[in-house]
Symmetry: C2
Subunit: 538 residues, 2 copies
């Protein structure tokens, strides 16, 4: 039973917020915006403008492809704000002509040969949850059309090495598909990006996704033991070893390649036993700076909290974690080997020494301790629910004329304050100038000994017809502030097409040359995801 | 006051083992070999065969260079067994014609232009401690000569960011030079490869050196926040951020580049406060397999021991940690934030549950606790001393006609047993066939959730005149066993020239193509370290 994915909005159609929910959201936002936003009618697929396919594949390819309108619509964009806005307005001008579902590496190679011969751009597609234009490809210039390669039929856990705690997993497997298959072995990947429900292992690797762990194992990079990528020039397969010092890392060359070099088909991934002990606590601060200082000390403590999520007052309010205007630090520890009272106690001592206030007792749970699990920290649960629902709400907001999007970065601790102030100021200024108001909130998603990964959400009333321009102005202001103040283009949202110009200011120019020559070596005709990560070749 | 480095052996001349020490060593080995090895006379620089320089640099370069025989001799080789053997016999045929000591990036560029124009191979030189032929370059083919670039005059800590715990350090700084300069700020790098006394930050980055921490932060890779590399095509400089998800990592492209792409001149490095609490213990096992199992559980425990060094019986005996034929696991925890009794107690519980025996009480020390520090675990200290002295002893053994060398790898836990047995068998077989006897020992230097990094030492009586061939036969047997059984070419000794053929069996062929095109982009004339890491271009 296939649940239907929305052709324009985040996720499953049946999970899209009801009219009642939208009305409740409108009431919440009425206070912030002076008046309640409208509840607009939802768009239909029938009204969507989807161009006719521009090419006809060979019979062999046709057998694994489709031109179904709904399929083409859901494969047109990622799910960033401009994607959802265009979908909402029925603009699917960039729809791929065909969507293909290969079931083997051989079939991917068939696609390569066809696209090379026929000048078709080929876009690898995992969950389609990119917020940086990673899967959107308007065919122009030398391309006659666009083919989308959806990896969803290569979604198996092929092998599990229980001794080494590693699993060979096909790249098209989504978060829940991986969870279900690993569960039989008592393992979990414990990589939970916000897109978990739909995004895939291959997509995570291609975009260097950020996950569950706030410290140490922050990116999917840290779980990749080896990777296999099928390129137009052949197979690029690395050896599954726990670590190596032999030359530059071949895995790290594939990680972050965003479909420009090849299609990732499978990987040996380090997996985790399920945690048996958990601890969670929330600490409140009166001022954000104090919370920042505590997050820094925790990141530098060697305690390795699994959760160290600092929410500024706006973020805590927005996600209904706190309604009293306080800064909140959500702390968590987990282990499959030992109880975690001790590190939590030490972490709370660090936090309270600097003025943090622990309203409730920290919650400790262990396997089989049902009462404790049911009683688990209320604010942490509220956070979790809000976290996975946020993208659904984001799409619902679009249908209420509200602009809501996020961006993120990482910078060293010494630079954070100036960068943060510049971001908040310049984004607020643009929101006021373009849209007459709005707000921006901040949380830390991951923390490192040398700096935080701050994550920003901005919300404003959109002006119908100017959404894309206003959003572009906000993004430009945010990216400028980030780059000027020493942040990185992205901590885990990837480069895609949206961040390409920003990334060009960050990366060494010689590294761009290296990547372009690598691209030419692996994808000599230049069919793969043109314009994503790297400038389109002529 | 410059202490003199031996022109042929490891380290400082004044630290070379005395005749008395060599006699004591001979007595120890007499038992193993049936007869005491000879104490051969040490070679003199005067007797060394060093060819005349083949080119004359420009006056500007001449001012920063030398043709001094001693300097040329110490810059000829690394310090692997075949290097020391050739030095012992006075064979310096591969000596660089000139050794240059640039003091700035501009001077490095001058060298590039000269070498490109005059067809001179250019070899970057840090501490000269390579054991894989990383700094040895016989000029042949299109090259008229060889210039060595010694980075030792670029050795300053330029900036310290105490908030983010990061320091900008010039690449020529050695371990002790970095320690001394960081000490003023209360920081340490806590990266202690065996070559610590001489090797440099740039060398560590170029070769992905392994260090102090047995878990999590095992390689220098984990401490590199950003890196600056001067290439013949220009400067390649990355942005100092705690983490990024923007495209493939540019730092990881430089890490492991072994001087083939450019010369690393400086890097922002994550530094550590000095530990205030330490714990150490040694656990004994009757059989190696049991120790392996415990090491695996500890690596998978999330306790993150800083030391988790498993020594087989031979290794424990060789390093005088145990003289009763037992397997020894040396365990350590340290922290600048909190006492470490708790993780040590849990680690010991894991070890003793599986039959480990803790002879002494674990030792806990904390700042100012002088008595406890003085009383610190005897076997751990014995280990430390032996660790840093081992390379001196290795050179002394050469002067006694004994072959002693090491090699290392990493593999997944499920593959370890078969690989280990194959390595021990094939190396022993070769030692017996070529030299009539000898032994091989094993320890784990680093452990990962998915596998160990085993490190092997082999010792045998050499036959004068056949040392290089016999050594090559042992290395070939070891490398074959490693590659056949799923290990990596090297965990932290790098590829250099010695491991190039082995690495070619491990790396994806397409990755080699990528690296070769990258090399051509960054070093278009191909002057940099030809034959190291990558095959020499024509």
């Amino acid at each position: 039973m296939n649940r239907m994915r929305s052709h324009w909005a985040w996720g499953y159609e049946d999970k899209f917020p009801s009219d009642d929910t939208r009305r409740a959201m409108a009431r919440r936002f009425a206070a912030a915006f002076g008046q309640a936003p409208d509840i607009l009618p939802l768009p239909s697929l029938e009204a969507a403008k989807i161009p006719e396919p521009r090419f006809a594949p060979t019979p062999e390819l046709r057998a694994m492809g489709t031109t179904d309108q709904h399929e083409r619509a859901i494969h047109t964009y990622g799910r960033g704000y401009p994607d959802v806005v265009r979908g909402f307005y029925g603009d699917f001008a960039a729809a791929p002509d065909w969507v293909f579902y290969p079931t083997s590496e051989e079939k991917i190679v068939l696609l390569y040969r066809f696209c090379e011969k026929e000048s078709i751009a080929l876009v690898p597609f995992g969950g389609g949850t990119s917020v940086v234009g990673g899967v959107e490809c308007a065919a122009h210039g030398r391309f006659r059309g666009v083919a989308c390669v959806d990896l969803s039929r290569m979604a198996k856990v092929l092998e599990v090495d229980e001794t080494s705690r590693a699993a060979l997993i096909q790249a098209g497997a989504t978060g829940p598909e991986i969870a279900k298959q690993l569960d039989r072995y008592g393992f979990a990947l414990r990589h939970y990006p916000q897109s978990f429900e739909f995004s895939t292992l291959g997509g995570w690797i291609a975009t260097r996704a950020g996950g569950h762990y706030a410290t140490v194992y922050t990116h999917i990079d840290d779980f990749v033991e080896s990777v296999k990528m099928v390129t137009p020039a052949g197979v690029f397969e690395t050896r599954p070893v726990p670590a190596s010092g032999a030359g530059p890392s071949p895995e790290r060359f594939v990680l972050g390649s965003e479909g420009a070099f090849g299609i990732i088909t499978e990987a040996w991934i380090r997996v985790q036993p399920k945690p048996r002990w958990r601890a969670s606590a929330s600490v409140h601060f009166d001022i954000f700076e104090r919370g920042v200082e505590v997050a820094r000390l925790l990141a530098q403590s060697g305690l390795y909290p699994v959760n160290c999520r600092l929410l500024d007052a706006g973020e805590a309010m927005l996600h209904q974690v706190d309604d009293q205007g306080r800064v909140v630090l959500l702390l968590g520890f987990e282990s499959a080997d030992h109880p975690v009272q001790w590190p939590m106690a030490r972490a709370l001592a660090i936090a309270t020494d600097l003025g943090g206030c622990c309203i409730d007792e920290p919650k400790y749970t262990s396997d089989g301790d049902t009462a404790a699990i049911e009683h688990s920290a209320a604010s942490a649960s509220a956070w979790k629910q809000a976290f996975f629902d946020a993208p659904y709400l984001g799409s619902a907001l679009v249908s209420m004329g509200i602009m809501c999007d996020t961006f993120e970065t990482a910078c060293t601790w010494d630079r954070f304050r100036a960068m943060h102030e510049a971001i908040v100021k310049s984004v607020s200024d643009v929101l006021h100038k373009e849209l007459g108001g709005g707000f921006v909130t901040c949380r830390f998603t991951h923390v490192y000994p040398d700096g935080p990964a701050p994550y920003y959400t901005f919300v404003a009333r959109a002006k119908p017809g100017t959404e894309l321009e206003a959003w572009a102005a906000v993004k430009a202001a945010a990216s400028d502030a980030i780059i000027t103040h020493g942040g990185t283009t992205t901590h885990h949202h990837a480069v895609g097409r949206v961040h390409r110009a920003t990334w060009e200011k960050e990366r060494p120019p010689l590294f761009e040359k290296v990547l372009l020559t690598a691209k030419h070596e692996l994808d000599p005709i230049g069919i793969l995801n043109p314009g994503c990560l790297l400038a389109e070749s002529r």
